[in-house]
């Protein structure tokens, strides 16, 4: 069963003018979480009492005439559990941090609250945000609400599931190698990986200092704009605000080979090509682009991420023996990467960036499917493609995602699948600094390619 979900802008108008009280909205949201979380395991902590206190305070503020100008007034938001929320456990999805509680809120959380948002809880994730499945032994495997029995993707799987089930209108995730876009794609919601450095990562437990980013997830691409505006206020770096042309003047670059890729689910290829055809009717140009050697990028990026993660999880106070085996294995890889290869990986970012920058001189955006497959089954480790080749679920899931973390560019994943099938994501990447413009453009694109929006009830 599903229900429609109002656009975020309409929801905020309704709370600002009092047609819906914040108490009523938050109370409904908490009921939804309460009814569904046992089935979805989207949340680790639910902050019901604090959320209702905050809702009362916001309703009182509205009665005083103080609601105007708060672009997230009364909006229920969920925060990935590796980002600090004052007074709330900050487990990072690890049993090893079950007792950790945040003494303050991360700037990204504070920014959403300053815009009027109400935190309703923290969301489940792949342990330490280091994995693509969100299968979590300590806090329960997150269930994909659009495909029970299938993974929601990770590592921000709980955030995606919360948004897909209407348990939050907006959720924060983190994206180091695709951890926002992947679960957004598998769960049929929209997600933004911001230009690296534009949103503060303070108060977020690090996975990889040089690759981490915090960004919003929401039912629609259009719903990403208000939280993005709030989050941009936290950035430590000032970027030129780059503008992208509207769709009718847009030059669309297409990820090399995806039109004829044999290692792709048929439904993904069909939905991607249909979306491309639709966009091509309005766009100024559509053409395949050349990109640098993706195998080398993947090797360099894994070398960097595993090394930095191994550094995070080292020292006398760290006992990795309680970590899940798959995370231990990745950290063990990082322990073995020589410093020379780590440094050369960082240097390779310069080379790749220059090549990608030249592509962006000729194209405004580069599009691809977000993932080459629909959400894999929970017990699946290998994917067999239509061309009979096989690929691990992890390798397949991140194939189109890593490049944009490597060069730090923004990109959006938005739904482009069939209403009755498993979700399919369309990934739209743009030059650094164009985050606002990219979200606006994707709001235009989703009108053309996204299936009708529905909020799915969580599995029982």
């Amino acid at each position: 069963m599903s229900a429609s979900s109002p656009p975020l802008s309409e929801l905020v108008e309704a709370t600002q003018d009092g047609r819906i009280s914040v108490r009523e909205l938050i109370s409904d949201t908490l009921r939804r979480i309460d009814a569904g979380n046992e089935g979805s395991r989207a949340f680790i902590s639910v902050t019901a009492d604090a959320a209702m206190r905050r809702a009362r305070a916001l309703d009182e503020a509205r009665a005083r005439g103080d609601a105007a100008g708060l672009p997230l007034f009364g909006v229920p938001v969920a925060i990935k559990d590796c980002i600090e929320v004052e007074g709330v456990p900050n487990t990072c999805g690890s049993g090893a941090r079950r007792d950790a509680t945040s003494s303050g809120s991360a700037p990204s959380v504070a920014a959403l609250e300053a815009a009027g948002a109400v935190v309703v809880g923290t969301t489940n994730l792949h342990e330490w945000a280091f994995g693509a499945t969100s299968q979590n032994e300590a806090f329960g495997h997150v269930v994909n609400p659009r495909g029970p029995g299938r993974i929601p993707g990770g590592s921000s799987g709980g955030s995606a599931a919360a948004v897909a089930t209407g348990a939050a209108a907006v959720a924060l995730g983190t994206d180091t190698g695709g951890s926002i876009r992947l679960p957004a794609s598998y769960c049929g919601v929209a997600g933004l990986k911001v230009t690296t450095g534009t949103v503060s990562t303070d108060g977020c437990f690090p996975l990889s200092w040089t690759m981490d980013s915090i960004g919003p997830m929401a039912p629609r691409a259009a719903d990403l704009l208000a939280p993005l505006e709030a989050l941009l206020a936290t950035g430590s770096r000032q970027f030129t605000d780059r503008s992208l042309p509207s769709l009718n003047r847009l030059r669309i670059g297409v990820w090399p080979g995806v039109r004829t890729e044999g290692r792709m689910d048929d439904v993904v290829q069909r939905c991607f090509l249909r979306s491309l055809d639709t966009l091509g009717r309005d766009a100024a140009a559509v053409a395949d682009v050349g990109l640098p050697d993706l195998d080398a990028i993947k090797a360099a990026q894994f070398g960097i991420i595993t090394s930095e993660a191994a550094a995070v999880h080292s020292g006398d106070h760290v006992d990795r023996s309680s970590y899940e085996a798959n995370v231990q294995e990745l950290l063990s890889l990082g322990d073995r990467v020589p410093a020379r290869d780590y440094v050369n990986g960082i240097r390779h970012r310069q080379v790749v960036w220059r090549a990608v920058s030249e592509v962006f001189a000729d194209f405004d955006v580069i599009v691809s499917p977000t993932t080459p497959c629909v959400a894999p089954l929970a017990d699946q480790s290998l994917i067999t493609w239509p061309d009979s080749s096989q690929e691990s679920v992890l390798d397949a899931s991140i194939r189109f995602l890593l490049l944009w973390n490597f060069v730090g560019a923004p990109c959006v994943s938005l739904p482009c699948g069939e209403p009755t099938d498993l979700p399919v994501g369309l990934q739209v990447a743009a030059p650094p600094g164009s985050d606002r413009s990219l979200v606006r453009l994707c709001s235009e694109i989703e009108q053309l390619v996204s299936p009708p929006l529905s909020v799915t009830n969580p599995p029982n």
Partner: protein, 66 residues
Amino acid sequence: MERADSSPESGREPLPEDGCDRRPPEDPGVDAFLAAVRAVPTAPLKDAPCNPPPHLRGESSASVAG
């Protein structure tokens, strides 16, 4: 039998002084991973100093092409 790699580049603990390798066999996936990371192409130093790209160093994105 091929002797296990114990060079500093291998990333593995060195062999004990008696030269007898008592370590468990390496996971071939680990070796493949390390080999792939080692094989990342390196550009001339002037083209690729150990700095992130300009926009990741806080420089204006106006400097990027396009």
